[in-house]
């Protein structure tokens, strides 16, 4: 990309203190995202996806140690003053969380939660905020908005609640939306609706989006670029079509194989990735995926592969023995 990217994460690392020593949750991650584009971050539970998103928003736990730079719109979010950062959040940066059960305040009505954000950032009076809230609810596909505004979160279904959370995130027309596993807590039939809604609103508002998920299937048709994370590091990063056509990391392949296939015969065992992710408080000497990798050779256990792009300028991966062919990829 020639123009300056909207977001550029440079050498970001996050250490969390634990009883067993410091835990490296995010390990020297570099990412860039242009305005209006979508980046998918994929990885299994505990690989640092959420910590990375919190690091971008500078919403890390108080005891976490952060290093690196998060350049957003020409400003380093980690270095600007708190007040300035607070104004950017909500206004230019917004988040949708995984569980709409807990991301909405249980004792405030939908109207209050939506309206107050509008009043705070756009300085609307309560009447305008209310009309705008109703419009937003319509935009996210909630019928009878006037009635919904008066309800409490527990009176809505899970999918409805996630739509409200999206409406709140979209309320101030952010430049970047971070969707942290927005569909994990939802019914499969609702998942597609929510993802389509996000994609539609993103196009309409020309907003950049980071879509965090553990499901490669989710990012397949909906992102411009995908970063695969494992044990706190980005292990493969490529434009989405390139990644699915010619994935190089054995971990990416294993993730894809773990998606159940509709055309498979009933009772076909699901290929799971054996073993467990490495203990993040005891970093491995070699490649962190080597204990679970079926292609691992001696060198994989000795040295840590760097993230390089030997094939093409935008396809990065960290592997000594990349998959030679992309056989059997049916995405």
């Amino acid at each position: 990309m020639s123009e300056a990217p909207l977001l550029s994460v440079e050498d970001v690392a996050v250490d969390l203190p634990t009883a067993r020593g410091p835990l490296r949750a995010v390990d020297r991650v570099d990412l860039t995202l242009g305005a209006g584009r979508t980046l998918g971050i994929v990885g299994e539970s505990g690989c640092g996806k959420t910590m990375l998103s919190r690091a971008i928003l500078q919403l890390l736990p108080r005891k976490a140690k952060f290093s690196g730079r998060v350049m957003f719109d020409g400003q380093d979010l980690a270095r600007i003053d708190r007040e300035h950062l607070r104004k950017l959040r909500g206004r230019s940066l917004a988040v949708v969380f995984q569980d709409p059960m807990t991301s909405l305040n249980p004792v405030l009505t939908i109207g209050t939660q939506l309206g107050e954000t509008l009043q705070e950032h756009l300085e609307l009076d309560s009447v305008h905020a209310r009309t705008r809230s109703a419009e937003l609810l319509v935009a996210v596909g909630i019928p009878a908005p006037e009635q919904r505004l008066m309800q409490y979160p527990h009176q809505l279904s899970g999918g409805m609640r996630q739509r409200v959370a999206i409406a709140i995130a979209l309320s101030c027309e952010p430049k970047l939306l971070i969707a942290d596993e927005p569909t994990t807590a939802l019914d499969v039939t609702i998942q597609a609706q929510i993802l389509d809604l996000l994609a539609r609103e993103q196009r309409r508002r020309h907003m950049a989006m980071i879509l965090i998920t553990h499901d490669l299937g989710v990012v397949a048709g909906r992102t411009d670029e995908v970063a695969v994370m494992y044990a706190g590091r980005v292990v493969e990063r490529a434009p989405t079509p390139v990644l699915f056509r010619a994935m190089q990391m054995p971990y990416t392949e294993a993730l894809l194989a773990a998606i159940p296939k509709l055309d498979a015969a009933p009772h076909t065992p699901l290929p799971a990735i054996s073993g467990r992710p490495p203990d993040p408080t005891r970093p491995l000497k070699g490649c962190s995926f080597s204990p679970r990798c079926r292609y691992a050779l001696a060198r994989c256990h000795q040295d840590k592969p760097a993230l390089t792009a030997p094939l093409s300028a935008d396809h990065h991966y960290a592997c000594f023995h990349p998959l030679r062919t992309a056989a059997g990829v049916d995405a």
């Binding site: 928003l57 919403l59 108080r62 607070r86 104004k87 950017l88 959040r89 909500g90 206004r91 940066l93 917004a94 988040v95 969380f97 995984q98 569980d99 807990t102 991301s103 909405l104 305040n105 249980p106 004792v107 405030l108 009505t109 109207g111 209050t112 309206g115 107050e116 954000t117 705070e120 950032h121 309560s126 209310r130 505004l149 008066m150 309800q151 409490y152 979160p153 527990h154 009176q155 959370a165 709140i168 995130a169």
Partner: protein
């Protein structure tokens, strides 16, 4: 009352959703009794009652009559007038002392639970010191030093209630502050002040208000106990506790002198507990959130 404020939280004029749970008959009887006691206590000076402190030595322990509806006490003072004026003291102390605990303890608990760190250590530590102090000795020391008055009594009981309110508020804040909606609010650019007042307070208020009503009941009992021991309101001012204490001397000849205030006491405390429980069940918008 603080409970009713909850309904006004949704300032956009939201019509409350239909309540599935109906308030029982018992709730309305309790409300009726509380209303009666409050009205009598409030308008006591306007009511055509004999003075609660004028003694009539010829009419000591007089039985029920047209002149003295509930008879007279051991010093010939009108029992009904003393009961009603006693309600003023018992209710005033019983309501204001927990308010002190609610406001100070609630604020300290929320700050400690939200900001954690050194502030929390300091607050929890100082509350532990206060809790470790025997309450009766503290009450004795304060009344001996500052004198026996209704204000001092309210202050002592209020201060003694702070640690309990602090703990309730802190515990609630600790669990809530880790919930995603707080992080979501922060991600939307909310200030600490806003998160504490708009996001956390309405949530913390639910357990605090339930605890407050319990606190009212406990404080009325505590005031009664202190007055019974002679540490409460100074004579000749009547409070239910001091009336029971005075009635004790004539339990054998006129047991009603101890039992009438005790009965008023019992009904009022029971009403507070019943109303507190019912309102908690009904006003909690989280109920049924599964």
């Amino acid at each position: 009352m603080a409970t009713l404020d909850l309904g006004m939280e949704d300032d956009i004029g939201a019509a409350p959703a239909p309540r599935s749970r109906q308030l029982g008959l018992l709730f309305w009887i309790a409300i009726g009794w509380m209303a009666l006691v409050f009205a009598l206590a409030l308008f006591a000076p306007l009511l055509p009652l004999p003075s609660p402190t004028d003694m009539d030595m010829l009419e000591r322990r007089a039985p029920f009559s047209a002149a003295h509806w509930l008879g007279t006490d051991g010093l010939g003072r009108d029992e009904l007038a003393r009961l009603i004026h006693g309600a003023r003291i018992s209710l005033a102390v019983g309501l204001f002392a927990p308010v002190i605990g609610l406001v100070i303890g609630g604020a300290l608990g929320m700050l400690a639970g939200y900001f954690r760190g050194r502030l929390e250590t300091l607050v929890v530590g100082s509350m532990d010191v206060l809790l470790a102090f025997p309450p009766l000795v503290l009450a004795l020391a304060v009344t001996a030093y500052l004198g026996q008055s209704i204000l001092n009594l309210t202050l002592i009981l209020g201060v003694l209630g702070i640690p309990a309110f602090m703990r309730v508020a802190r515990a609630a804040t600790l669990t809530l502050a880790r919930r995603e909606f707080v992080i979501a609010a922060e991600a939307l650019g909310a200030t600490h002040r806003r998160i504490l007042l708009r996001e956390l307070l309405p949530n913390v208020l639910l357990p605090l208000v339930a605890f407050f009503l319990l606190g009212v009941a406990v404080t009325i009992v505590a005031e009664g106990a202190l007055s019974f021991l002679g540490l409460g309101v100074p004579p000749p001012v009547a409070s239910w506790g001091s009336m029971i204490g005075e009635g004790r001397e004539s339990l054998d000849v006129a047991p009603r002198l101890a039992f009438l205030p005790a009965f008023a006491f019992f009904l009022t405390v029971l009403s507070f507990n019943l109303v507190g429980d019912s309102l908690k069940a009904v006003t909690d918008p989280r109920q049924g959130a599964l």
